[in-house]
């Protein structure tokens, strides 16, 4: 019963955030602020994870490819496709669920508990439109860019690790990257990135916006948001893979 009530509340929240902005300039500034918060705030962790993710992929792929009949350039192909198809969109978005999702849920939860959301409503501002809409749009704009950055850094990290450990030369790796490249994989990765971005922003907004109680509930809402986002990302990942691949 609670699940249906939460799904209903979530749908109403999404419906309620579509209204005419009271002042377009203020909303634009808020959107830019959110883009900067989400993008710049998460760039560091995304870069670190991506480089190491690519590096480990290269070393582990090389470790598994023991047959002399398989060319070394295959390592680059495997790393490229793994990073583009799975690691960059899914792993990065699961990390972003913690970084961005937790932050949004606790920020909105704190605003709810300290009556800041009520203050917006009293001023005649649609708090859903002002607080939630810019966050979702900013996530949809910025997270796919972060995923592209993660893919590029992941492949670069894999290349660097391969050369440093002496598994593969730079020339062979670059050659392997070009072999059998499917642009559709990038489309698939971006489809996943947009889906996950919407899940991260909307679910965290839902749990944060609907906090009832005090600071303890803010923590609970933040944790619940991250858990639900992770589960939904994995579920969506499976559904998209079975539908689009």
């Amino acid at each position: 019963m609670k699940l249906f009530s939460e799904i209903g509340g979530y749908c109403l929240m999404i419906k309620g955030m579509f209204s005419k902005p009271e002042n377009k300039k203020v909303y634009w500034n808020e959107l830019m602020h959110q883009c900067s918060e989400i993008g710049i705030g998460a760039l560091g962790i995304v870069a670190i994870i991506s480089v190491f993710m690519g590096a480990v992929s290269t070393i582990q792929t090389a470790y598994q490819l023991v047959s002399p009949f398989i060319p070394l350039s295959t390592i680059a192909q495997v790393v490229r496709d793994t990073v583009i198809l799975e690691f960059a969109p899914t792993l990065v978005c699961i990390v972003l669920a913690g970084v961005i999702g937790g932050k949004i849920a606790s920020e909105l939860g704190n605003m709810r508990v300290s009556e800041q959301i009520d203050a917006l409503e009293i001023m005649g501002i649609n708090s859903k439109t002002f607080l939630i809409f810019p966050k979702i749009i900013a996530a949809l704009l910025v997270i796919p860019i972060l995923v592209i950055i993660a893919a590029v850094l992941g492949i670069m990290g894999g290349r660097t690790a391969g050369i440093m450990v002496g598994i593969i030369s730079g020339y062979t790796f670059d050659h392997g990257l070009m072999e059998g490249f499917l642009p559709y994989n990038v489309f698939f990765a971006l489809t996943k990135a947009y889906t996950f971005a919407f899940i991260i922003a909307s679910i965290s907004c839902f749990y944060g916006y609907n906090v009832k109680g005090g600071s303890l509930e803010i923590g609970k809402a933040s944790t619940k948001a991250v858990v639900v986002i992770c589960i939904l990302i994995l579920l969506a990942d499976y559904l998209l893979a079975s539908l689009l691949l």
């Binding site: 203020v26 704190n110 009556e115 800041q116 009293i122 005649g124």
Partner: protein, 258 residues
Amino acid sequence: MIEAKNIVKGFDERNVINNVSTILKTGQCNLIIGASGSGKTVLMKCMVGLYEPDQGEIFYGGQNFTNMSFKERTVIRKEIGMLFQGSALFDSMTVEQNILFPLNMFTDLSYKEKLKRVNEVLDRVNLNATNKKYPSALSGGMKKRVGIARAIVLNPKYLFCDEPNSGLDPQTSLVIDQLIKDLTEEYKITTVVNTHDMNSVMEIGNFIVYMHQGKKEWEGSNKEIIFSKNKLLNDFIFASEFLKDAKEKRMTEETQKQ
């Protein structure tokens, strides 16, 4: 004029407000008093539309606020300023940005004009050098005054104050009370204050509504309250010996005046 008509509001199958009706006086300082848990804040939140009453209606100047759509309510809400119990200032904004916010949202004034208005209201609440400070750097009394400044920046018709003295020392409470009273008279605002501070009742309340266990128990002026025979009201207001003495003294003064 703000009118509450037969308001009923409950949470988890328990009624917090039970059939409350009152007409709050225009251009005066109206007080809703009562013990903690008597339903003051819930009634106020029903009046401003933060809670939807289960039954009953709220009228602003004869217009039925309860039946209005969100868009229609926005027109009325632009005429409402509210000071929250915890001030509800936006943490991520400075004092200046907090007060600029409603101006940015609803006016076409130039930045210079908006800044002038911000400084005017900050000056009015005696906070001149705090423009660039964040709410976390302010004391409780200062936060309340910034909250008042933000509430009056758009020249509202109605000012709602939820427990403006909670958590403040007696001296700062007096300053806030005086400020609310002065602003009510100066801007001819209809003010509604939720409080259980007896000083506020005596000093600023033109019209007082006493709530007890979700019901309106008594209403009248601050002069009538002295002579009230309502036991629950007297038990609440004149709870201490000190206040009983003050009541006797005030009654004598009022009788002599008459």
